[in-house]
């Protein structure tokens, strides 16, 4: 290859100056930072919506908002948190970490990387703009089931296109991750030497590439059903509204694992560091992750047990769903075994990781309960479901993101975060999040339906307790912002290894903070 390439391609300058640096950047660290900050902003926007929901549910009766607006709050809260907060946060972590962890100079397709990020602010501006249109924001639930969702006002096509744009972003981001992992590893970094965060993201990215286009197809059919006279989801024309649910959940269930697999990778990085032992059962972790991904494609209809499926279908989806508990159990036991007889310390990342293991497992158990088809007929669309998925998504996915932020923040900024404040953040969050979500199990078992602004008076006490927990949890997240701000501004300098027990290329071979371009020369892998 010609040598002028090295002149053009690899001038070792630092970042460009000014605002345009962030708009035109192709650097994986810059783009990772953008993703993470975007996710943080969306986390607070979605969180504000959750506060509105809890305020309305504080007491029975209608106090704060009208029912239509309440429904749009639950709908958009979910869309924002899933597509705007958790997924971009994981993608931001992938951007920051994968090139450093596999010894690559950058992501494989840097310009496309920038494109993947910069579509997102536009997509979510479109989504949120629907609140100011005739008919208001989407209010039919985040699953946008027809025929209800088709009754939305002028905002409908904007919401659909927002989903399309976010989907394009995810697909491009995932292609970048897969190609980076498969093509950019340093010599000697074999697949089975990769850190688990890289493995879990490889599988997550595969799930995204396989399912986001299916969602795009589903919402396109919604669009043409509303505007182009098609009858995909109308029985009068020979279609079937239930068909939408099948197509949607064929995307939706893998999506659930998209939201949790990277979390498994993060916890698998943090637990060994603070137990000062290598991860127990590395290869079984890899196989378990792959099994979960495979199973995620054949369990979708457990979201629709009550829709009126043939019994054979109910049974198949019930047993397939319960099988997921096996590889997931492998993971939980591996983490516990890693900690067994470890030389443990409990810095904030470890606290969040242990919190994850405990509470994610709890959410997993309620999931197992929901998997039992005849029992699900009772729980379906109740607050039990709400409690279940908030345990796996808030104390699961989001706790892992918090853990990752605390764990790698010193590496990224070169400064240690405020440990005292971090511990306060963990404990207040953990107490309040259980006050928030645990009572929702009781509410659901007692029969309180989800997605309603008002409820029967017998549910009043637990709702009030849940709301109090919600307000405390919401406010306590401001501490997280303070921690991040302080760490970026300054503080005690972090060592290159940051944590005594930390392993991996980013801790062993790079400074804290790492140079703008890490690994221009491929590192040596032992």
């Amino acid at each position: 290859m010609s040598h002028e390439a090295t002149h053009d391609g690899h001038d070792d300058h630092g970042p460009a100056k000014g605002l345009m640096r962030w708009v035109t950047t192709t650097n994986h660290k810059d783009i990772g930072t953008l993703y993470l900050l975007f996710a943080l902003v969306m986390f607070f926007i979605g969180g504000a919506m959750a506060m509105v929901i809890r305020a309305e549910l504080f007491q029975p009766g209608l106090q704060v908002v009208d029912p239509q607006f309440f429904n749009s709050m639950t709908t958009v809260h979910a869309l924002v948190m899933i597509f705007g907060a958790v997924m971009p946060a994981f993608t931001g972590l992938a951007n920051w970490l994968i090139p450093m962890q596999i010894g690559a100079p950058d992501m494989a397709l840097p310009r496309m990387n920038n494109f993947s990020f910069w579509i997102l602010p536009f997509a979510f501006s479109l989504l949120l703009s629907t609140f100011f249109m005739e008919g208001g924001g989407p209010a039919g639930g985040w699953t946008i089931y027809p025929p209800l969702s088709l009754q939305m006002g002028d905002g409908f096509p904007f919401m659909i296109f927002a989903i399309h744009l976010a989907g394009i972003s995810s697909i491009m981001g995932s292609i970048n991750v897969v190609v980076t992992i498969l093509n950019m590893r340093a010599p000697g970094m074999t697949l089975m030497k990769m850190p688990l965060f890289v493995w879990t993201w490889l599988i997550t990215a595969y799930l995204l590439i396989a399912t986001m286009p299916v969602l795009a197809g589903a919402v396109t059919m919604l669009l043409t059903d509303k505007f182009a006279a098609t009858s995909f989801f109308s029985a009068a024309g020979g279609g079937d509204p239930v068909m939408y649910q099948h197509i949607f959940w064929f995307f939706g269930h893998p999506e659930v694992y998209i939201l949790i697999l990277p979390a498994f990778g993060i916890v698998s990085a943090i637990v060994p560091t603070f137990a000062r032992k290598p991860l127990f059962g590395y290869s079984s972790m890899v196989y378990a992750t792959a099994s979960i991904a495979f199973l995620s494609f054949i369990v979708w209809a457990h979201h629709m047990f009550t829709v009126g499926m043939p019994v054979v279908g109910e049974l198949f989806f019930m047993y397939a769903t319960m099988m997921i508990a096996v590889p997931t159990g492998v993971k939980v036991f591996n983490w516990v075994s890693t900690m067994w007889k470890g030389s443990m310390t409990f810095e904030t990342p470890m606290l969040f990781a242990i919190g994850f293991i405990m509470m994610f497992t709890l959410g997993g158990f309620s999931g197992l309960m929901l998997a039992i088809a005849p029992a699900d007929f009772q729980y379906h669309d109740t607050y039990f479901v709400v409690a279940h998925f908030h345990y796996v998504l808030v104390t699961g996915a989001i706790y892992s993101i918090m853990a990752a932020a605390y764990y790698w923040l010193p590496k990224w900024t070169g400064n240690m975060y405020d440990e005292t404040l971090g511990k306060w953040h963990f404990w207040i969050s953990t107490i309040s999040v259980n006050v928030l979500f645990f009572p929702q199990h009781f509410l659901g078992l007692a029969g309180m339906p989800r997605r309603i602004p008002d409820y029967a008076v017998q549910f009043a006490d637990w709702n009030m307790i849940s709301s109090i927990g919600g307000f405390v949890f919401g406010l306590s997240q401001l501490m997280f912002v303070v921690v991040i701000y302080k760490a970026i501004k300054g503080g005690k300098k972090a060592t290159d290894q940051v944590w005594e027990g930390a392993t991996g290329l980013e801790f062993e071979q790079l400074s804290s903070p790492p140079p703008y371009h890490s690994f221009n020369e491929a590192p040596v892998i032992k």
Partner: protein, 286 residues
């Protein structure tokens, strides 16, 4: 894995992605306004599309120039190849959603409307007796005739299959370093793609004008037009890409060992071809 001294090319500071984001957003905002009946919608959408074409010209132009300067080593080439393969996989899954809708309607929901395994039809749609093809119990869109398989669709199948062959001959010529033969057979492929599209357009006119088969003809019309329509859209993109590749081949952009863009478009074309075979079998024949 190569780790030679010429390192992986990481571009710096590109403004094309942000142009792309603005262009895409403008396009979809225009389309959404159009759907809502806002008068300026089509104009906004056209503006967005114009920006999109400008962006593609600029972005692809940049990479073409970089490629010609020899800035892409083997590893970069592999990234492009893998990226294209995964992109095509995502396209496969997009079509899978619509094929899934077709299969679901034919195998499950239409028989259910007829009362197979379920009894709700007795109260809701007791008079309904049609099997596939159908526009549903309400006869949505009025009586229609279906598109026969052995007229234009069969010809189109032959056209696309032939285009796969001509494209391969062109590829062989490129590998042998025969530029004029490469361009000639590419031109034949483009022509076959264009003829296919012409027939497809004629078929749509025939469907709307003579058969009363429209997008609004119940589930049959919905699946027929969405599947063939998205396929036709992909053929259009593929034909344009082949045309661009033909121009580039004519400018001697490709060498017998370095011609990723040619191969990427060829893969895309074969993908479109395979989707058509699925369409021909499941939409037209069966």
């Amino acid at each position: 894995m190569s780790h030679s001294a010429d390192s992986y090319y990481v571009p710096h500071g590109s403004h094309w992605p942000i142009v792309a984001s603005v262009a895409l957003t403008t396009s979809v905002v225009g389309a959404a306004m159009w759907f809502n009946g806002t008068g300026s919608g089509p104009m906004v959408m056209l503006l967005g599309l114009a920006m999109t074409f400008f962006m593609m010209y600029g972005w692809f132009g940049t990479t073409v120039r970089e490629s010609l300067k020899g800035m892409y080593n083997e590893q970069v080439d592999r990234s492009f190849r893998q990226g294209m393969m995964w992109f095509i996989f995502s396209e496969v899954m997009f079509f899978a959603a619509f094929f899934g809708a077709l299969f679901y309607a034919r195998v499950l929901s239409v028989p259910w409307l007829l009362g197979e395994d379920v009894s709700t039809h007795l109260t809701l749609w007791s008079g309904f007796t049609e099997t596939w093809p159908t526009n549903g119990p309400n006869n949505v869109g009025g009586e229609f005739q279906t598109m026969g398989a052995w007229g234009i669709p069969a010809i189109n199948t032959l056209l696309l299959l032939t285009s796969g062959v001509t494209l391969t001959i062109s590829h062989w010529a490129l590998k042998a370093g025969d530029k004029s033969k490469t361009v000639l057979w590419l031109a034949a492929t483009v022509a076959l793609g264009a003829i296919f599209l012409g027939f497809q357009a004629y078929e749509y006119i025939h469907a709307y004008g003579d058969l009363n088969l429209t997008l609004g003809s119940g589930i049959y019309g919905s699946t027929f037009f969405m599947l063939t329509g998205f396929h036709g859209f992909h053929v259009t993109i593929g034909t344009v890409m082949l045309f661009v590749i033909m121009l580039r081949a004519n400018k001697a952009h490709f060498t017998h060992e370095n011609h990723f863009a040619f191969e990427a478009v060829a893969w895309y074309w074969h993908f479109v071809d395979v989707v058509w075979l699925g369409l021909f079998i499941f939409v037209y024949v069966l």
